[in-house]
């Protein structure tokens, strides 16, 4: 499974810039990101090349950080690609907490990051249907 770094952000000017600056100064490369927000605050979710280091440096800089395990799935970058994957999850009754997608440079496929209630069961379901779940090392190196 892939380690995702989540950061609490107040809706204030410059907060996101601060996070990315800290990461940049520490030579940490962002592979994927999404922001969930309310009117008061947001949660920045990141996939980076070195999650442990990112966690350490952000924490040291006073950010509220947590690590979450998520699943990275390869989805054909063509119409209906995501639907196929979601159908499999629906059939297996796997609840999705959230997801976000990005298009990789290396392959022709898109990558989707899932946070689900029951990751083990999701992995099994994907594997039985021939959907490629990406190894963490591969995701960090993207």
């Amino acid at each position: 499974m892939v380690k995702q770094i989540s950061i609490f952000l107040e809706n204030k000017a410059g907060r996101l810039a601060n996070v990315t600056r800290v990461l940049g100064e520490n030579q940490i490369n962002i592979r994927a990101l999404s922001i969930a927000d309310t009117s008061d605050f947001g949660i920045l979710r990141l996939i980076v090349n070195e999650p442990e280091k990112a966690y350490e440096v952000l924490k040291r800089d006073g950010f509220t950080v947590s690590e979450t395990e998520v699943i990275a799935v390869e989805v054909p970058d063509s119409p209906g690609g995501l639907a196929t994957v979601l159908d499999i999850m629906g059939e297996a009754s796997i609840n999705i907490e959230y997801l976000y997608a990005f298009i990789g440079k290396a392959t022709d496929d898109a990558l989707v990051i899932f946070k689900v209630e029951n990751p083990e069961r999701a992995m099994e379901a994907f594997e039985s249907k021939g959907i490629v779940v990406l190894d963490s090392s591969k995701v960090y190196r993207l």
Partner: protein, 432 residues
């Protein structure tokens, strides 16, 4: 343990006699030496001779902070400046500063009261007292200092600020008693944890916290976090400074040293004296001060007096922990809200730290209360709905405790101002 057992345990009838004698003297002195107070008494049609019993005190006019400002700087002093050996002053952030003065005898009396207070809260000559109240114009630092020296304790005059150095001294000098504001004690613990030091590595036994209202829940937290006994100390510069009242090991109310101060509780609206035990505004009269005696000072602190005798043996009346100051109180749509109530609610919710700010705004002629709360590492989740659920939970519990809806806003940890002195808990943005 007492500093002055004879006076601290004086039988009530003798204490009443002493209070009356000193009250009469004080009224006489003020009438004779302070023109503005004499004018007030004349206007009220009362002369010093009308004070025959302790109850007669209610005939006397009040003194307020405004009176001190109007007589800035030395207009209320009853001794010539050649007899004044010390001056303290408020910062004057909300108007002209209030200036107070002390004669030699006043300074000695203050040190004696602080000595009583420290002993009452378990300090001894073997204690190492780290005094992190601010030194300077603020009465906290020097007030505690003189008392601690008087009992023969080893005093570290660390003053406020430079928290890492405070902790280093605590470790290296073997501090056993910490004196500071409760909010600073909370912050110091935060820094202690960050430095990776456990309170069990320290010799700290007790904390004497004051200069701002703090709740029972805050006491529990401070005692658990530091592994100490936490005592509340009360005082105000207009009366003297710290040492007006102190908790004993019973931790049920603070003994007011009545041979120096007469306490009344009044209804802040009608100004009527309330029966013993009822909640209202504390009014204090100094009866043993030389340079600046003050009659019926409106403290703005809300509390009640405890009539029952204390098992500790001290006969001096107790006041309950101050619930709040009437000027810290915010009125939201007609409901009185004190920061200490918010503090209590937060301390009872898991994974929430008591760092908060009440922000009051008026939108469309309606007051809106927002409570900003720092999200803690433990409460943080990568899922929005969990954080929103936390906001709702805090909001719900605030509403049931305060009786008014408060919107909760989670903010980043350590984003709210940490105080090294008195904490700022309210930001009132209403333009009235």
């Amino acid at each position: 343990m007492y500093w002055n057992q004879e006076i601290e345990c004086l039988p009530r009838n003798e204490l009443e006699k002493l209070k009356l004698r000193r009250l009469k003297e004080t009224v006489f002195r003020i009438y004779s030496f302070v023109p503005s107070y004499q004018a007030k008494m004349d206007k009220a049609g009362i002369s010093p001779g009308d004070i025959r019993t302790l109850e007669d005190i209610s005939k006397l006019p009040f003194t307020t902070k405004q009176d001190l400002r109007d007589n800035y700087p030395f207009g209320l002093f009853t001794v010539p400046m050649s007899d004044v050996v010390r001056i303290h002053s408020s910062s004057g952030t909300t108007g002209k500063p209030t200036v107070v003065g002390y004669s030699r005898r006043d300074i000695d009396g203050w040190a004696d009261l602080m000595a009583r207070a420290l002993i009452c809260a378990g300090a001894t000559r073997y204690s190492v007292v780290q005094n992190a109240y601010g030194y300077g114009l603020f009465t906290g630092g020097l007030g505690v200092h003189y008392g601690a020296e008087k009992i023969g304790a080893s005093v570290i005059p660390s003053s406020g600020g430079n928290t890492k150095r405070q902790i280093m001294m605590m470790q290296d000098f073997g501090t056993t008693v910490l004196t500071c504001t409760p909010s600073y004690a909370m912050y110091m613990h935060e820094v202690l944890s960050e430095m990776g030091i456990s309170p069990s590595d320290l010799k700290l036994k007790s904390g004497i916290f004051g200069a701002e209202p703090w709740s029972e829940d805050m006491r529990r937290q401070l005692e658990e976090k530091w592994g100490i006994d936490a005592y509340d100390i009360y005082g105000l510069s207009e009366m003297m400074g710290p040492g007006v009242a102190i908790e004993c090991p019973e931790k049920v109310g603070l003994h007011i040293f009545e041979d120096h101060f007469i306490a009344e509780i009044i209804d802040p609206e009608t100004e009527e004296v309330l029966p013993l035990g009822e909640k209202g505004e504390l009014v204090l009269t100094t009866v043993n001060k030389e340079a600046l005696p003050i009659i019926r000072y409106r403290t703005r602190d809300l509390t009640s007096l405890i009539a029952e005798p204390c098992p500790c043996g001290r006969t001096h009346v107790r006041m309950n922990k101050v619930l709040g100051r009437s000027d810290d109180m915010v009125i939201i749509r007609g409901v009185n809200v004190f920061p200490s109530q918010v503090e209590s609610v937060l301390l009872n919710i898991e994974n929430v730290e008591p760092y908060y700010l009440l922000v009051v705004e008026r939108k469309n002629n309606l007051d809106e209360l927002e409570v900003w709360v720092e999200v803690s590492e433990k409460a943080f989740s990568d899922e929005i709905r969990k954080l929103e659920r936390l906001e709702k939970q805090i909001s719900k519990e605030l509403e049931s405790s305060l009786g008014v809806y408060a919107k909760v806003k989670l903010v980043e940890p350590k984003s709210l101002q940490r105080s090294e002195g008195k904490a700022k808990r309210v930001e009132d943005r209403r333009v009235l």
